[in-house]
Each structure stands twice: as structure tokens, then as C-alpha cells.
């Protein structure tokens, strides 16, 4: 298995620092040309909502950060279909065109990677 990284996000965008830490890692890995995929499930699907407008200074707008992942060669972005349905979020509300995966496809896709990290 080639040296590939799967980053699994399961935290809400602004409740903790998990979200920003995970995206920082994705950008760094992308910069170094790593084969990387980013997964969003659970409350992390809220990170993908387009209309975010953080009120306090110094808080990064996560939807903008996620939209910039493409410039770091991070193209494989997946989102869990079940988590989206549970939270009544439509694909059209997302800030990037992420690939929607069912639970089985999610498992299969994640397990293709040699390193798996959860935030």
C-alpha cells in the first residue's frame, strides 16, 4: 500500500480546535505531495456548510479554508451520506463538491490508506 493518509473529521467546526488542526494537517500533507483523502462525517459535515460567518476576530472561516484545500492538491474530499441526512443538510449547501459515500463505500475507501487519523 503506497504511503497514503486518510484524515477523518468528526468534530463540529467551532466547538473545538479539532477542525482547524485537521485542515492544517491536510494542507501540509498536500504541500508535500502526499496522497491524501479527507473524510467528513458526524458533526464534521457542518464544517462544509457554505454560509459560515464567524463573528469573533481570529476565528478562521472553515468553509473558506476547505475551499482552499484544492490549492494544496487535496482533491479527495468525501462526506458521509447518512450524517448529512441525519442533519438534514443538502449537497447544494456545501462549500465544495465533495463525493457522497454510503457507510460501506466509506469503510472501503478509508481502508485503502496506510495511515488513518481522526480529528
Amino acid at each position: 500500500m503506497s504511503n497514503s493518509i486518510a484524515i477523518i473529521n468528526r468534530s463540529a467546526p467551532y466547538g473545538s480546535s479539532h477542525a482547524t488542526e485537521s485542515l492544517d494537517l491536510a494542507m501540509i500533507a498536500g504541500t508535500f505531495g502526499q496522497d491524501i483523502s479527507v473524510y467528513f462525517f458526524g458533526d464534521a459535515v457542518f464544517q462544509l456548510i457554505e454560509q459560515q460567518k464567524p463573528q469573533t476576530k481570529g476565528v478562521k472561516n472553515l468553509s473558506k479554508v476547505i475551499k482552499s484545500l484544492i490549492f494544496f492538491d487535496v482533491e479527495n474530499i468525501y462526506v458521509c451520506q447518512k450524517s448529512m441526512q441525519e442533519r438534514s443538510i443538502q449537497l447544494s449547501e456545501l462549500c465544495v463538491d465533495a463525493t457522497l459515500l454510503s457507510n460501506d463505500d466509506l469503510k472501503a475507501s478509508i481502508n485503502k490508506h496506510s495511515r488513518i487519523m481522526v480529528f
Binding site: Y14, G15, D43, I49, Q51, Q55, R87, S88
Partner: protein
């Protein structure tokens, strides 16, 4: 007649469910921080709750998270109104 403040997402915490067990007539519920996500959770049954209790949502926290178009039975408030609420009610309980 306390003001119940829900600050955790219903998807990874039972805050709202447990709060419901303690509700009595005249109480109010305010959603802040990740509690905003209760609006996206079908089990919250906010419409039913709204029949007996007044429901509020802190609009800066909702805007941060890109959650908008609230149902009419939830009142969006800002920080000033938040303070007024805490004075109006006998106590504030954070969940």
C-alpha cells in the same frame, strides 16, 4: 422558572434530551454555541416543545455556523436580549 441554555450538539451529547426531563411550565430554552445544531436534529421535536415553552436561538452563533432560516416557533436573539433573558428568568441552567 429557569432559562435552560443548550450549548452542545444533540448529535454527540444528550443535553437537550436530559433538559427536557426537567422542564416545567413557564421555562424557556435558549440554544447557543453547538446547541444551535438542535435545529437540524429531527428528534429535537422543537415544534412540540414550542407549544409549551418559548424557544430562543443566539443569532451570532447561528450565523457563525451558517445555520439560517429558523422555523417561526424559534425566536432569534442577540447578546443584549440574551442578557435580558437571564434577568427575566429566576435562574439560568447550562446544559
Amino acid at each position: 422558572m429557569p432559562l435552560h441554555i443548550i450549548k452542545q450538539s444533540p448529535f454527540d451529547s444528550p443535553s437537550l434530551a436530559q433538559c427536557k426531563l426537567t422542564l416545567s411550565a413557564g421555562d424557556a430554552i435558549l440554544f447557543i454555541e453547538n446547541g444551535i445544531y438542535c435545529l437540524n436534529h429531527t428528534d429535537s421535536e422543537l415544534q412540540k416543545l414550542a407549544e409549551n415553552y418559548s424557544l430562543y436561538i443566539l443569532s451570532p452563533d447561528a450565523e457563525t455556523r451558517g445555520i439560517s432560516n429558523f422555523p417561526d416557533y424559534v425566536t432569534a436573539i442577540d447578546y443584549e436580549e440574551f442578557v435580558k433573558l437571564t434577568i427575566e428568568f429566576s435562574a439560568s441552567i447550562s446544559w
